[in-house]
Amino acid sequence: MTHRTGWTIAVLLVGPALTGGAIAAAQDSQFGIRGLGTPGRWESVRSRSTGGAFGPFDPLSPLMEAPLADLGQLTATAAGYTSNRDVVVGGTTTPLRTTRFPLMGVAGPVAPRLVVAVGFTTYLDRSWDVILRDSLMLRGVLERYTDAIASDGSVADVRFAAASRLSRRIAIGAGLHFLAGSTRMTAERRFDDSTFARVQQSAEVRYDGFGLSGSVLIGVAPGLSIAAWARSDNRLRAKVADTTSAVTDLPRMAGGGILFAPSPNARVAASVAWRAWSRAGAGAFDTWNWSAGMEFGPRRMPIRLGARGGQMPFGPGTTAPTEAAGSLGTGRAFAQGRALIDVGLERLERRGGGLTERVWTVLVGLTVRP
């Protein structure tokens, strides 16, 4: 396969995202209904199988740009997740299920010491559907009704990134982030009394925003690397029928990680991230998230384990909801390493405001190096 053919395939993979035709979303949560949404995880399946600990060092995870510098050839990747989520509130458990394709990207060297990447990932998932049973006094009569308010869509982060290895020890990268997406929102009310017509309103809400990011990867010693990153997004503007309905400040964020590879068949990593979501307004919190994970075994078919924890940015009350997860996974290389399939399994629990979510997520990733 020629270099040009490879880029053509890559553009075909990523193109729909850039034109807004792609469906991009991540695992959603009831905690995102009240706020801007559920933040996406900027991780490939490989990283996520390690709890996200390998994210700062994984060139295919859109968290940092600097690791792209070590990408020696054109590479395209995509990921898909299926989540089975139990929402427990007030002693009632509701099973929910979603399937998402939250990650797609292509990267490759374009010049000596310069690698560029383009792709999209989910910035905020805004897919939810709530059903409410209530009543109100109308015309002097207590009228019972059922509300169904739904949102289907997400805000995607379209990233253009570049990275360069400055020396054997230092690689740097930077990225431009265009936030774009839309949600189809519907609000419906059905009265038990059929003399009241069904309320049905809908609108397409379009979102846009902009962000910048930068990162550095430093080889401290053989087998030991540290990474640091920072990102700033300006604001998320919501438009309904070309009228701005809301402008919300987006967070500044920063994070770092450490990777230790004592042997070619064993790697351990840990990372931490801080996000200033409280800028988004009432009901939003700054969050800290940590992760730790390992990958061992031959690179053709490694075993991955990880754990992570931290906070969710949106929730009721005065403290941020928390989340904790454990994950495992593996991968398999085919065709002399030109194709990789990664699979993972994650068990996640979120708590806050009297609500608990327990999620099983099956992760599947595909990477092609033409």
Partner: protein
């Protein structure tokens, strides 16, 4: 083979995985969207104006029914009398070359459909009168008082006839067929030579009128056109000096109408609906822009206060309907037949009439070119004697009002 199985399992898993299930019970306000559906209920007391009534849309002879009633009231008696004229063959039966002039009639059989009656009516009696053959669409109740006084032809007790074995009266030759599916009675009345006089100088044309009476609730309706009166003559004809009998084809009524008293009160400032000739009322509504432009109407109710008790025969409740019009041309406004809302009116009642007009106002909101005008008319024009009159907009205390329940625009896009 193993690869195929794996591919099949993979495909099944993929399809199963793509099933979304997102709907969850809400736990508000903590886990609900910040925006809520906001409902507003408002009473438009002064939005209806420039209302008016018009009479004369459907006249008695244009009605689909012939109305018969005899209902004594406190001050007068509601008296409806069907009248019809059946033209004869002339001096000869057309196309019958085997015989000559019509000499006269041996007898005739008159068929009448009773298409509406109250099953609670007892001792229902029909009185058949011979009327002048000059009756026409302009004939009034007053001009027929003499023949309805002195030209009685037959009296038939329908209840007695229904009680006969086989519903046939072997003495009079009358019979009745009950169509329980369509709730119709087919009366077949035998008229003897004296009752059915074929007068060749009148071309055999005969006219009859019907009065009814009953112990209670004497109000019925006779059919017209396909279910109208028909007369089967049994004639005597001259055939070269010999008298022969002929039974030509039955003849239908060329004129079928009814006269009634008292006549409807003239149109005044009230909003009249119904009656004969039928009356319509127009209500012009100043439809608030805030409702039209940025909301969804989920219920709209028109309240009308009767100015007088609804007129009409007590057993004949009638339906009035509200409709939109396509353009405001006053009395001749073209009616939009697509959507209509209705209310039942019970004669004698004075209760406030409520008509749910949700779909009509939704149409106004959806199409701003529509005139915001409600037309009130009887659902079946001139098919009952019932009429109701409502207070107009100038009667401040009792004016027509609209109660509208609407939903404000949902705050989509709000965080």
């Amino acid at each position: 083979m193993t690869r195929r199985r794996l591919a099949l399992v993979g495909a099944v898993l993929l399809v199963a995985a793509c099933v979304e299930r997102l709907a969850a019970p809400a736990n508000c306000p903590d886990f609900c969207p910040s925006g809520q559906i906001t409902i507003v209920d408002t009473l438009l007391t002064s939005s209806i104006h420039r209302d008016s009534s018009y009479r004369g849309y459907v006249l008695a002879y244009q009605s689909a029914l012939m109305l018969a009633a005899h209902l004594p009231g406190a001050t007068d008696t509601l008296d409806g009398r069907p009248i019809f004229r059946i033209n004869g063959y002339g001096a000869r039966i057309p196309a019958d070359t085997s015989a000559g002039a019509i000499l006269g009639a041996d007898s005739a059989r008159l068929q009448l459909y009773v298409v509406r009656r109250d099953s609670a009516t007892r001792n229902l009696r029909l009185q058949l009168y011979r009327l002048p053959i000059t009756i026409d669409t302009g004939t009034t109740f007053g001009t027929l008082v003499p023949p309805f006084t002195d030209s009685l032809v037959r009296t038939i007790n329908i209840d007695t006839l229904l009680a006969q074995p086989g519903r046939k009266d072997t003495v009079t030759g009358d019979s009745v067929v009950v169509d329980s599916l369509n709730r119709r009675l087919l009366l077949s009345l035998k008229l003897d030579t004296a009752a059915a006089r074929y007068i060749t100088t009148d071309s055999g044309t005969v006219s009859y009128g019907i009065r009814i009476a009953a112990d209670t609730l004497a109000s019925i309706a006779f059919g017209k056109d396909g279910f109208g009166p028909s007369l089967q003559w049994y004639l005597r004809l001259d055939s070269l000096g010999t008298t022969v009998a002929r039974k030509p084809g039955a003849l239908g009524a060329r004129l079928a109408s009814f006269v009634f008293a008292p006549p409807p009160a003239p149109i005044d400032s009230t909003l009249a609906v119904g009656g004969v000739p039928s009356a319509h009322s127009l209500l012009r509504v100043a439809f608030p822009k805030v409702i039209r432009d940025s909301s969804q109407i989920i219920r709209a109710t028109l309240y009308l206060v009767p100015a007088v008790p609804a007129r009409g025969a007590p057993p004949d409740s009638f339906v009035i309907e509200a409709r939109n019009v396509l353009a405001d041309f006053g009395a001749k406004s073209p009616i939009d037949l697509l959507l209509g809302d209705s209310a039942m009116i019970h004669p004698g009642a004075t209760d406030t009439v409520k008509i749910e007009v949700t779909n009509l106002l939704q149409q106004w909101a959806a199409d701003s070119t529509r005139p915001t005008l409600l037309l009130l008319r009887p659902e079946r024009e001139a098919q009952t004697l019932g009429e109701i009159r409502f207070y107009p907009s100038v009667a401040t205390a009792f004016r027509p009002t609209l109660q509208i329940t609407f939903v404000r625009r949902f705050p989509f896009g709000a965080p």
